[in-house]
Symmetry: C2
Subunit: 598 residues, 2 copies
């Protein structure tokens, strides 16, 4: 059976030593009082919840899965899920980063980010129930009417109710412009929605008193395509004016999907049979409103794979130290044992270090993004808000795609460390791989993320935002360029940052003549950008470690950070070479393949 | 639901146009009569069996799995598996490449290779039941006594009985030297075996009248380690002198594993409770005898992933042509439809072409290896037999590890083409990924394969065998070096072949000073070698295609081959750049990580 220990020290390192979040928060009126001790204390408790309540239900939830009663349309979640959710609500966890106006605790998103990393390590399938609520909360917080906010936000904040996002239909996933669900205006200002949605995570369950569905649909006068989509709140039970729950609304689960992973989460086909909803935001502008939720969800998905990478790493490390098999190639290491622990073998270490580096790089990036979100929402200076929003928009597809692709690699390698035992369910490793698989697909496939990054976020403004990130790299070079000890960490990043400019311009130029060039290069480009960002954070982490060591610290933690950074630059970062080459090889070899793909 | 069409034309291309197997067989007395028409006719029938009998049971077998009756120790395979096996036996398929002396059809291994590729595409889990018999057959054919051959080979040839290999124990997988199962000599010359084996594929089932277990165990006077292991035949039912089945032998299934994939195959814990067996080969030399079976199994495992790559590709291609979503970046392609089929998107094509290239490269390599095996066993010239054996030994770990790593990538990408639907069981794509996962683990993990390749097969004889493969590349360069049309296919391979010499020498030199350098480089090295081999075969396939086109052929098949080869060299082959760099970055960043991996 797998184990999980919350990586609190690593989180504290990123938050307090690398990003200095408490200092940053002094400039944010909403969080000026938040100090290091508070953050650490909250996360210590949060870690206990994750490890002690959510984690023990991970394998059992996968084995048992969800069950739909086809008569009542009610879904029974796996044994223990409902109780765990009750404890989650009781502990006040849903309110962590919510607005105090609606009962929230008003803590910064960085805290929520770390808390959710731990929940995802513990139990991705369970975590999706409260996780989706959070996106619904943010969407309504940004776009709801005062009345909608008053009715829904307190219950989403307390966790009494959960939320969903209902976008996909059988014939349209990525291409939401094709969606068909209809919303008919009623005399009382509400709408009656009719249609079918699929792949609705946490669409129906037994954990909360009500479920707040955010549904995309078309008004009768909607223009075709994505400009004719509106957003509606459609609660499972009607909500009375006093906030109490009324009659059942005809939005129900018509079927549960049988999936490769996340078995503990109910992935529902939802039938809307004249379900009553209210409009969120402007008619036909639903997609823009939903994007608040989608962006939150994309960061959340990256965080899912970060969590899986960490827990898979912890278990593979423990196994590699424990499992005795063969002798080290360079001579017996454990003379008193019948064989050496497999951690002596270079390739076993490579697999472990790959997962470790991906977890640490991902954590730094994800925490940085959460800090950007805090600044976007709460910084008094408009320019800082705008810059933070822009940088966050740039980094969001990288968080989503790079961390989830890495998570797939990492969980697979951690499984591989177990040899044949990795294939057996009881060890828990194969579940991490199966759960990690969905993260590359949902909330926009990783190909879609790469097009968002290269096409919209980078070429869309002629590389201006990328230059802003480049400035951060430049700043680090300026600070540490003469520090010989930093050279091994800074040189590769600085060189890549230089190459990126030309690389981006080249693709942009080719893309103007033929847009398929952008589509052909995008996936490789995103991985290069991912390494630029990871490389930057590994250099910053090394900077902190070197400073601590120079200041006399003998804490092995800092030497460990340098070892991981060295591994990263030697074994993982160099893939940018091939990626830039394959990206440059263009679209022709893909598109001139009519006969090969006949 | 997925579909499968046997890729007969592609197989014929490799066998008859690239490898000219029928010409090669003219030099082999055992196969001198085998002609193109016979091979094609057999494979056409074999394809029907795969597509019509084995394939329809693939998803149902996965869903249903195997069931153990704990009282009788009998295993019930999924519905339909037993009937399909009966048809397989009835059709004479087990005998395809078996020795006519024992009732075999005596066809070359190339035919069996292609037949098994199709079976693996159709149903890997089912195919493992007859597949393991084949390894047992080969092992006994090479090392059994005349009496053992007479008793067992006819029944394995007819398929009345199946075989297994019983190696792994709970505490030892890779490190067979640690195994503990005991064999006590009896007065009648037999042995009583006691111990526990795990991960025994097809270890117990309801498909055959008897199961022939090949079991590794220790004699009482065995020296410790791998030099004290002997090999035994331990049948499920005793075999009487007349070949009929007698009493139950106490070797039974104590439990079935719950696995990530290949649910239709019974992965058994086997208890030997004084089970009676007979010795195969010399005492304490069991590992060498078992290696005949292991080498066959390693080629077989590569073939499993080749099959999965092909079937995943076929289904992803069909879906990509059918699924309408978004418009092409370079302008609407299907004006009459609400969206373009997703095959218009460059990255969708990249995923499809990756799978296609891996399937075609893998098929060429696997058929070539089967031809080498035929020559090793049947060529009248001893030098040819020896050279073929050596080259086959070099290529075996590449077939096992490179094709299975590629198969993991390819099945994942084909699943990705389906978007969210790829995660849903009913589409069948996620099963291909789950089934493909085990192929990187069993019969020696891919790390073990890489050590076998670099440490034993290459550095072990100072690169002499690698040079033999290099000569094949040199020959092709000589033939086509002045042909401008071949330059794009030949230049990258020729350049890599040149670089390999220095690259290998460098690692060998470092490895003499520190063996961990070999362990650190091996996995990257194997992938570089894999691309050298694939590159060579893509160049040869392009050569054939160009000659056909030059000779006036208008068959689009040949243009398609050129398109796939161009894609391969532009998008897949270039990873050798990064791999050579990371391999060269050495072991220090892996080994000096005591604190990071604390």
């Amino acid at each position: 059976m797998p184990t999980y220990t919350p990586p609190l020290r690593d989180m504290q390192f990123v938050m307090h030593e690398v990003l200095n979040v408490a200092d940053e928060y002094k400039a944010l009126p909403a969080h000026a009082e938040v100090d290091v001790d508070t953050i650490n204390a909250v996360l210590e408790e949060g870690g206990k919840f994750a490890a002690e309540v959510a984690f023990p239900l991970n394998i059992s939830g996968d084995t048992e899965g969800c069950k739909l009663d086809k008569t009542t349309h009610e879904v029974k979640t796996p044994t223990g899920f409902k109780d765990a959710y009750a404890k989650y609500v009781e502990g006040g966890w849903p309110a962590l980063s919510c607005d105090p106006e609606y009962g929230g605790q008003g803590l910064p998103f960085v805290v929520n980010q770390c808390f959710y990393e731990m929940l995802n390590s513990a139990n991705q399938a369970w975590t999706m129930y409260p996780g989706l609520s959070h996106g619904a909360y943010e969407c309504l917080h940004a776009h709801g009417t005062d009345e909608q906010k008053k009715l829904y936000l307190p219950k989403l904040t307390s966790g009494e109710w959960t939320g969903t996002m209902c976008l996909t239909e059988p014939h349209c996933g990525t291409d939401l412009g094709m969606l068909r669900t209809k919303a008919e205006p009623q005399a009382d200002g509400t709408y009656k929605l009719t249609g079918q949605k699929i792949f609705i995570s946490a669409g129906e369950h037994d954990m909360a008193a009500n479920i707040v569905h955010l549904v995309l649909a078309r008004l009768p006068d909607a223009p075709p395509g994505s400009k004719g989509i509106s957003l509606f709140i459609v609660p499972k039970f009607h909500v009375k004016a006093d906030g109490s729950v009324g009659e059942r609304n005809p939005i129900y689960c018509g079927g549960l999907e049988h999936k490769m992973g996340i078995h503990g989460n109910a992935t529902c086909q939802m039938i809307l049979d004249g379900a009553v909803g209210t409009l969120v935001g402007q008619p036909h502008k639903g997609l823009a409103a939903m994007f608040v939720m989608m962006n939150a969800a994309r960061l959340g998905v990256g965080n899912q794979s970060l969590g899986l990478t960490e827990v898979a790493y912890q278990n593979a490390l423990a196994y590699a130290k424990d499992r005795l098999q063969m002798r080290s190639l360079s001579g017996t290491k454990a003379k008193d044992k019948p064989a050496d622990p497999i951690i002596v073998h270079p390739d076993v270490r490579k697999m472990l270090l790959t997962a470790k580096a991906y977890a640490e790089g991902g954590r730094a990036l994800a925490c940085y993004c959460a800090l950007l979100l805090d600044k976007e929402l709460n910084h008094p200076d408009e320019k800082v808000r705008k810059d933070s929003a822009e940088l966050l928009a740039l980094l969001t597809p990288i968080v989503k795609a790079f961390i989830t692709d890495n998570g797939w690699q990492a969980t697979m390698m951690c499984q591989q460390v177990f040899g044949g035992h990795g294939f057996i369910k009881e060890w828990g490793m194969e579940q991490f791989v199966r759960d990690a698989r969905i993260n590359m697909i949902y909330e926009g496939t990783n190909t879609i993320q790469s097009l968002d990054l290269l096409g919209r976020k980078i070429l869309g403004n002629n590389g201006a935002t990328l230059k802003k990130f480049g400035k951060l790299v430049g700043q680090l070079v300026e600070e540490e360029g003469v520090n010989e000890k930093m050279a091994e960490f800074i040189n590769p990043v600085a060189m890549l940052a230089d190459q990126m400019t030309k690389f981006t311009t080249e693709i942009g130029f080719k893309g103007m003549q033929n847009p398929d060039e952008v589509g052909a290069a995008a996936v490789d480009y995103l991985r290069v950008a991912g390494h630029l960002v990871f490389g930057y954070f590994f250099a910053r982490m090394a900077q902190v470690a070197l400073r601590q060591i120079a200041a006399g610290s003998t804490d092995p933690f800092y030497q460990a950070k340098l070892q991981t950074a060295r591994f990263y630059f030697a074994k993982l970062f160099p893939e940018v070479q091939t990626l830039m080459r394959t990206a440059r090889s263009g679209s022709k070899v893909l598109m001139d393949t009519e006969l090969a793909l006949a």
